[in-house]
């Protein structure tokens, strides 16, 4: 439909940037950073240009599609394309990379900048690719390869315990990844038995009529991989360590974007390819999601370390996203998608604001070390407050839209689950406000004494995040227009329809 290979260009631009960085001579740290920023911004601009051409009314499943044979012997092709869900997440990735590059300007010493910024750009390529892949094998490859830059970003540039956190992250992810590989090959064998020639093409796989028992086995392989990545309780223990040891920039990309691959995988791959198994496992997964919501929030309440608190809070939010996907209502699924976007933004806001605070006062992430920031650095405290409110889903902010729709979708199907999940919101408010109170109000602690307020670069990095959070909170319609067709198509494949609005029907009968 279009002659411009948009998605390939989006993937190539940051990759070229990272290669260029490798050829910049040592000692010109500034040039490295500028190059990284320019290429990341170029990617963002191109993403916006592509997004403007996205046709919300189109009946095609994917737009901007490209397909070339890659390893025909195994039925593998390089195929990319986006639907509304994919587009939103590609845009999220493309937005956050320049933000974290700007925010992480001084994250690493000058002699280490080349590797750091090159890896961030490589990650940009891989994140866009993973959301754009329409060949399941290509998706898997990018899903696994993404581990490597993150592994190095945590392990080389992180905190004191970074090697441990990096290895833990790698092992957890590989467990999931390899199970998924086994299931993926199983899927290939199933397709070969059914069609005579194995394939990894998403659309063809969706069209397969897989035996429900086989579905249940294969589903588990994919699900565990996604549940580890997302992370869902009880597959989450790698996340707090990884988040604590990462630089803020890495943490934003890891939690804000990469972990979304898990929830994206559920909605994109699990539901359409294994509809029977999805329905079969839905109660179990909903239970895990609700446990995650409450467990994450409760544990966050007890944290003494900011970054760990954010990690547990994210886990609680991922519970909401997964819940929205597996209640099989269009509100739930649309809500989950917009929640993915909103959570990416709120993660960026909170990690970066907290990161700016930590970098000013010796790097400690212990909550007890801080107090009274609003007296010494009012702008910083303001951003912190905004990030906190975004995290607790204040109405008018993007996360509220997502959370509300997820709960709406849940109530429509399972009232009890909705009630329990709502408790999570209360707990979220408790830990988020408690954090702000301890860190920003009261008398200034010794660590906060003498810190400076945010500079122009830092405000510039945070401003777009804040702006987007507000705009999407007040006026989410454009995103819905893009997302809803994709969500409806997915639910149609699963074969479920929304339950009728209870109150409306009663009103009609009266």
């Amino acid at each position: 439909m279009t002659t411009i290979p948009w998605l390939t260009i989006l993937m190539v631009v940051p990759l070229v940037g990272s290669l260029l960085i490798l050829f910049i001579p040592r000692g010109s740290a500034r040039l490295v950073k500028q190059t990284a920023l320019v290429f990341a911004l170029a990617t963002l601009v191109l993403t916006i240009a592509m997004g403007l051409q996205f046709d919300g009314q189109s009946t095609a499943a994917f737009q901007f599609t490209e397909s070339y044979p890659w390893i025909p012997a195994f039925g593998i092709s390089y195929s990319v394309g986006v639907d509304g869900i994919g587009l939103v997440l590609v845009a999220l990735a493309a937005t956050l990379v320049p933000v974290v590059i700007l925010a992480g300007w001084r994250d690493v010493p000058d002699e280490a900048v080349k590797g750091y910024f090159a890896l961030l750009l490589v990650l940009d390529t891989l994140m866009i690719g993973v959301f754009a892949a329409t060949d399941v094998f290509l998706f898997y490859v990018l899903f696994e390869v993404m581990l490597i830059p993150i592994y190095f970003l945590i392990g080389r540039y992180g905190g004191a315990n970074r090697a441990y956190a990096a290895v833990k992250f790698l092992i957890y992810s590989l467990v999931g990844g390899l199970l998924m590989l086994a299931a993926l090959i199983g899927l290939y064998v199933v397709s070969a038995n059914e069609l005579g020639q194995g394939t990894f093409d998403f659309a063809t796989l969706v069209g397969l009529d897989i035996d429900p028992n086989t579905q249940k086995v294969l589903f588990l392989g994919f699900f565990i991989a996604f549940a580890i990545k997302a992370p869902l309780w009880p597959f989450h223990t790698w996340l707090p360590d990884a988040a604590k040891e990462s630089t803020p920039a890495t943490a934003v990309l890891l939690i804000g974007v990469l972990d979304k691959v898990g929830t994206f995988g559920m909605i994109r791959y699990l539901l359409p390819i294994f509809p029977a198994a999805s329905e079969f496992y839905a109660p179990l997964i909903i239970a895990l999601a609700v446990i995650g919501i409450l467990y994450g929030a409760l544990v966050a309440l007890g944290q003494t370390d900011m970054k760990r608190l954010f990690a547990y809070s994210s886990m609680s939010h991922f519970g909401f996203i997964v819940l929205g996907i597996f209640v099989f209502t269009s509100w739930g699924a649309s809500g989950s998608t917009i929640y993915m976007l909103a959570h990416g933004l709120s993660t960026a806001a909170i990690f970066l604001a907290a990161g700016f605070l930590m970098s000013r006062s010796g790097g400690s992430s212990a909550i007890a070390a801080y107090g009274g920031v609003n007296k010494k650095a009012p702008i910083l405290a303001g951003f912190l407050l905004f990030a906190t409110l975004s995290s607790l889903a204040l109405p008018g902010l993007a996360s509220f839209v997502g959370e509300f729709l997820v709960l709406l979708g849940t109530f429509a199907r399972y009232i009890a689950v909705g009630v329990i999940a709502t408790i999570g919101i209360v707990l979220t408010a408790a830990y988020a406000l408690r954090l702000y109170q301890k860190v920003a109000t009261g008398p200034a602690s010794p660590a906060v004494e003498g810190i400076s307020d945010l500079k122009g670069r830092e405000v510039t990095a945070l401003a777009p995040v804040v702006l987007l959070t507000i705009v999407l909170g007040v006026f989410p319609a454009p995103v819905f227009n893009v997302v809803n067709p994709a969500v409806e198509r997915t639910l149609q494949i699963v074969g479920v329809t929304d339950p009728p609005p209870v109150i409306g029907v009663q009103g009609g009968e009266q």
Binding site: F74, E144, Y151, R156, A163, V167, L174, I185
Partner: protein
């Protein structure tokens, strides 16, 4: 009965030209050792060895399309056989580059100046001081290559036994010739020799039993005889078991793997590279042929055993590798685990399994050669720095070598965009195609365990601060540099664009009978 009782066999010398080239060069090499002046020997031997390998490969390529049984059916020049021969020649070529290296060790190449001099004796010091080089390694190397080439195309049990010995005997010697840590090297050679002799005896015993049952040593005739007498197979199953022991020993499958770590650690690294890469190709080639051609009819009897051994090999190799502190021992256990993955392809007993195994061998051979190239370069004052802790911070001080080694580790761990991933993908696919889910799950578990120690090497190289007695990367000559470059290129290319090689293996088809 009459005069021409012993008619000379008909031999198409053109068809077996690659073998003749290698054999001829090896023979000339021996003569060079006795006749040529000491100073000129190395140069002549290098020309002979590289020339022979390249010429043999060129001849092989020029005959690529031909499929025939030669020398009265004793050897089968079929598609898989030719592909495996080509692989052995190319891997040997890279291994030869490592063996030719003499810039890394200040005293000379990797080999003791004279193997007979006592370790630590005055004799030895004098020879070292005079700069003697042991050029006998070259004919030995070529004989081993000849044995391997024959091993993968042997079409009867006796031919297979002879090529097994032609391959093994030079390797026993080469293992004992390390310049550094000579006692360890001699111990390795002794261990390899004694255990290898045992395994050869098993093989021979098995051959006798199979011959006793079927009345022939020819693979095709064995297959026919087994098909003609179904049911009464106790004798022949014993024979198959014994033959399997002999062959599985060579690939280092559990429980016949005890020699691997000691031999890998003690041998000169260049020889270990050669052994690890090419012996595995040759031995797996032989296993594939004998089990698919001769014993294919009894696959229901041996398949289960093969799956069990494959699973055991993957698990034991991976688990034991976790606790290793020496890089060569770690790689040795990792190579055991890798053998388990290849055995999954063998046990699939299908054309898909055959192709998957051959692709895995290709990927594994070059990755392994590269790994040992790096191991040779990482040194401290006393020679190669074997302890893993000495590798701390290496990736940061030598980015290129560090990156190469990281790529090899990722490939062995099976991360996408490296050859190891496509290889794992292929064997998993062949196993699932015959509904073997449990071995695949076990393979997944082993892969995760293995990822832990491959990942740990990267942690040590990149995330740790260098230690006081840390190792440094010595700048090698063009030989090792080229070997490393080839290994990296193959590892990455087979990961990103495997299609041409997959096509090549696919076109090779199946074994001739």
């Amino acid at each position: 009965m009459n005069t021409d009782m012993l008619a000379a066999p008909e031999v198409d010398y053109v068809a077996i030209l690659p073998l003749l080239i290698v054999a001829g060069a090896a023979g000339i090499g021996v003569i060079v050792e006795t006749c040529a002046p000491r100073g000129a020997r190395r140069t002549i031997q290098l020309f002979l060895a590289f020339g022979a390998l390249v010429a043999a490969f060129a001849t092989l390529v020029s005959q690529a399309g031909l499929r025939s049984l030669e020398v009265e059916g004793a050897i089968a020049l079929d598609g898989p056989g030719r592909v495996l021969m080509g692989l052995i020649l190319l891997a040997s070529l890279v291994a030869a580059m490592l063996i030719a290296e003499r810039q890394l060790d200040p005293a000379g190449d990797s080999f003791a100046p004279r193997a007979s001099a006592l370790p630590g004796s005055r004799d030895e010091r004098e020879l070292t001081a005079r700069g003697y080089l042991q050029t006998e390694v070259w004919p030995l190397f070529l004989f081993a290559v000849l044995g391997m080439l024959l091993f993968v195309i042997s079409n009867n049990l006796l031919m297979m036994f002879i090529s097994l010995e032609v391959m093994s005997l030079p390797l026993y010697l080469l293992a004992g010739m390390a310049r550094r840590r000579r006692l360890l090297s001699q111990e390795a050679a002794m261990k390899y020799f004694i255990l290898g002799a045992f395994s050869s005896a098993f093989f021979l015993f098995g051959t006798a039993l199979v011959y006793g049952f079927t009345g022939s040593v020819e693979f095709a005739a064995i297959s026919d005889a087994l098909a003609a007498q179904p049911g009464q197979t106790y004798l022949v199953i014993g024979g198959i078991g014994l033959i399997a022991v002999g062959l599985l020993f060579k690939v280092g499958a559990v429980p016949f793997h005890q020699w691997v770590p000691d031999v890998y650690q003690g041998s000169p690294s260049a020889v270990t590279a050669f052994m690890a890469a090419t012996v595995k190709v040759a031995a797996f080639g032989a296993i594939l042929r004998i089990f698919y051609v001769a014993f294919g009819g009894l696959r229901w009897d041996w398949e289960a055993l093969m799956w069990v051994i494959a699973c055991l090999t993957m698990l034991v190799g991976s688990i034991v590798a976790v606790v290793q502190t020496d890089i060569k021992r770690m790689i040795a256990y990792s190579s055991i685990a890798q053998a388990g993955f290849i055995l999954m392809g063998v046990a699939s007993a299908s054309a898909q399994g055959l192709a998957a195994s051959i692709f895995y061998l290709t990927a594994y051979a070059f990755t392994t050669l590269g790994i040992f190239a790096v191991i040779m370069m990482v040194r401290d004052a006393s020679g190669e720095a074997g302890r893993l802790s000495q590798w701390a911070g290496l990736g940061r001080r030598s980015p290129v070598v560090g990156a190469a080694f990281a790529i090899f580790m990722l490939s062995l761990a099976g991360i996408p965009l490296t050859s190891g991933f496509i290889a794992k993908f292929a064997v998993f696919g062949s196993a699932l195609a015959v509904d073997q889910v449990v071995p695949v799950i076990i393979a997944v578990i082993s892969s995760v365990i293995a990822a832990f120690f491959y990942g740990r090497v990267i942690v040590i190289m990149y995330f740790r601060e260098p230690e006081g007695d840390g190792a440094t990367v010595t700048v090698p000559s063009a030989f090792t540099t080229l070997a490393l470059a080839i290994s990296v290129a193959v590892t990455v290319l087979l990961g990103i664009l495997p299609q041409p090689v997959l096509d090549l293996i696919d076109q090779a088809g199946i074994f001739l009978r």
